[in-house]
Symmetry: D2
Subunit: 267 residues, 4 copies
């Protein structure tokens, strides 16, 4: 009899039970990117060896809120939107590896399981959270317009505690969407050994780029950002010392696969 | 000492604890309206006396999905979007009262408590549900475009059971958004007696109109609609006998107050 | 044609769509009751006229966490537990009315819509929240035993913000479950006018008693209690000035109807 | 600077941000085990090579509902129960490997992220779902007693669709809790390659046993079980051909580590 199949567990006769369909995955959504600086030591303490601080502006950090629709190459999730829509918030820093500078996600929260596991596949260290972001509107009084003065709020809660509050007010158009989350990503794909919990059964350093990118005009603005304490988070260590700028735009992008830069033998 | 205050319970010293801030309320959002016909007796059985079937096309029904942002006149909810965003789905029929034809909401599900109670204030018979609707996008492959061929899905679940599945495919522009949900609303505001559960402490027939309405272009299309059985719903009795048409648009609107047409004495 | 029926909206041909089945309602669950004192003015500011402070120990307050199963007289919800189980947390004070002393719920959060609306019927000012309470266990290491030293935690979050944190450590058996929530309840059933939002269409002062009460032994202990700020709560005004005691027990009870003490004419 | 730490991602300076604390993990909870038979080919199609059908009663399947409290060796989660309590439902079959018979979980749904990822560590193919199970009570009318005639309901929903409905009625005490989930577990820990999605970066066959087990008396009874269709599940292929028996009990158990039986080289 044929083996059960599926991109990820659970494997099943038809492969439909997998928590996640196989790549490629397509994404369309809205992004709020808030860039700020912390003391570089606060970035450094998040970088495992052999990753090193970026040479230029090493304390730069981006917090990104995203309101996504995503789907597999069957596109069937788009007609069952509970399987397509999700929100996420993530913290990105830059780092150096073998002479190249990369972007790296250090914290990320999402509100659906398929997105959580997709992140684990890509090396994004995803946890579940409750993420909200104001949507610009074209009509009525219950939302900002994409124009100077338009103001958005955004928040993250984990385990019933608010851990991030952010506000963004548009000042004008921009020809950049920031620089912290703009490089190829470098991530670790880590999975502990079942025999020795301090060792790893999977320990890969990977890089990846998306493809098929397209995006809207960008709006630049001023942001306020507050991290709150939680017993299961350490993001307050990244409390902004200085704000850089913030940006809002809509994008579309696809993702297929990554490249392994280094694989450590199972410990 | 001053009495505690608030538009609704809980009353509190500063009035901030109320489940809902006072009107007016402002709404901006996207609407998918699916119109269809059932045997008129299936509408009639939902109309309490003295409401009567509409004279023309009495079996016409609309199912509307809405993805909303809303706020009070302080607009503060817009910067804390967990208090502003909600989704809902509702079923509207038409009926006659004293020679006038009205729209009337017979079933409605929302996903936030403030929206539930706001509905009870207005006479919308709201329950909690999980509502999802595909969002059109401007970029990328993970969403339809607002153009012929663009396809959206929408669903409602209540108590962990899927009760509505809908699909909409755009055929072209439209100069109407339908006729079933287009009239002044007529609703009952009902609250049972605490002494005699079969009697009512509040029994008002009310009508209301929103104000400050503005809306986008309308897209017309074809829809499929399936209701599923649940022990706590009867919406399958409205299974479409014939589809009429479906429409998608964005709107903005405000709501302040209604008018009592008839008040029955507490039973 | 017969009118649509139901204890509450939505009315439907068979009455099954009602957000809540008719009373009587039966409850079985576990209660953690934490009693403490605040300055009596903090209780007084929560009492609308003509309610007055209790004569004895007027600043006494109880915070109660409850993990419930409930059902209607058909008992069918017990076999579909998503319709039966819910958790709640509520704040009770005492007050005087016409020479009698009553218990009164001033704040309450629940996690299901049927429980929310049931509260509104009874005059409990319910909002949705996320409520958690440790369960004592009989086996294994992942829970306290009901014996001295057993420790429970409990929390409430509203709109993605933690607003209550509580801890309880058992010191020994008790022959009382406290005194604040032990009297007949006196509640307001309030519903605003749809024409004049500052007036009320329903304004009843009601009292009620449950029946068929039975309960377990009571465990007494020490509690810690912290309220946290939220833009939509004012419970921090009840921050404990002094702890009294705390109690844990299991109970069963039924509720049928209440008595109207005073009804104000619609404003 | 020291590397960030944590049992699992996200790694952080203090290790507190990990989605899951390190083992050992302790569990206390209630289990409803429903055993039934399907055509053995329906089990076989879920077994990847080299796993084979059990020799005796190869079509036996168990569906288990569990209402858990769990914690790490710090026990701190027990005082913050949102981090401790979760519910799950899982399907277990038996199989043979190298002459030994094992239990194997083929489908499992949980309602918290820490439990999902803990399952992935152990080889349980967890997805998020909404799981409910009636709780026996000692007082009141809103729950069954643990005695003959006591009846429980249980359900699973995934992506807003009910996929499992179960009922259990106690007939009497039992000296067994069933045989399908009673053997050492054999699981695959699978993680896809980021470079070639049809290959695996981690592919381990593991076995494990819990320790520190203790349990209550067992109640035996009759069960009904219905699986419902979903586009993202295939559990209806396991629709019971014949019911065996069902059991209810409370247990406590701990888990520390497993053993790798076979590791395939990264593909």
């Amino acid at each position: 009899m044929a083996d059960p199949t599926g991109f990820m567990p659970p494997l099943s006769p038809g492969g439909r039970a997998s928590i996640l369909p196989p790549p490629p995955w397509h994404y369309s959504g809205d992004l709020l990117t808030i860039e700020f600086r912390v003391d570089p030591s606060r970035v450094d303490e998040l970088l495992p060896e052999p990753l090193e601080l970026a040479e230029e502006d090493p304390g730069a950090v981006a917090l990104i809120f995203a309101d996504w629709q995503s789907c597999s190459d069957t596109f069937e999730e788009l007609l069952d939107p509970v399987r397509s829509q999700y929100k996420e918030a993530f913290v990105v820093v830059r780092c150096r590896y073998r002479g190249e500078t990369y972007s790296r996600c250090v914290y990320i929260w999402v509100d659906k399981d398929f997105a959580l596991v997709r992140g684990w596949h890509q090396g994004y260290p995803k946890k579940l959270g409750s993420i909200w972001m104001t949507r610009p509107v074209r009509f009525g009084r219950a939302g900002p317009r994409l124009e100077p003065g338009g103001a958005l709020g955004a928040s993250v809660a984990v385990m019933d505690r608010r851990i991030v509050d952010a506000r963004f007010t548009i000042t004008g158009p921009s020809d950049t969407n920031g620089f912290v989350n703009a490089l190829p990503m470098i991530h670790h794909r880590l999975f502990p050994s079942i025999e020795h919990p301090t060792r790893r059964a999977l320990d890969e350093l990977v890089t990846m780029k998306s493809y098929g990118w397209e995006g809207s005009e960008v709006w630049r603005g001023d942001a306020e950002l507050t991290f709150h304490e939680s017993p299961v988070e350490e993001v307050t260590r990244l409390a902004p010392a200085e704000m850089i700028a913030a940006y809002y735009r809509s994008v579309g992008v696809s993702w297929g696969e990554g490249t392994v830069l280094n694989r450590s033998d199972p410990g």
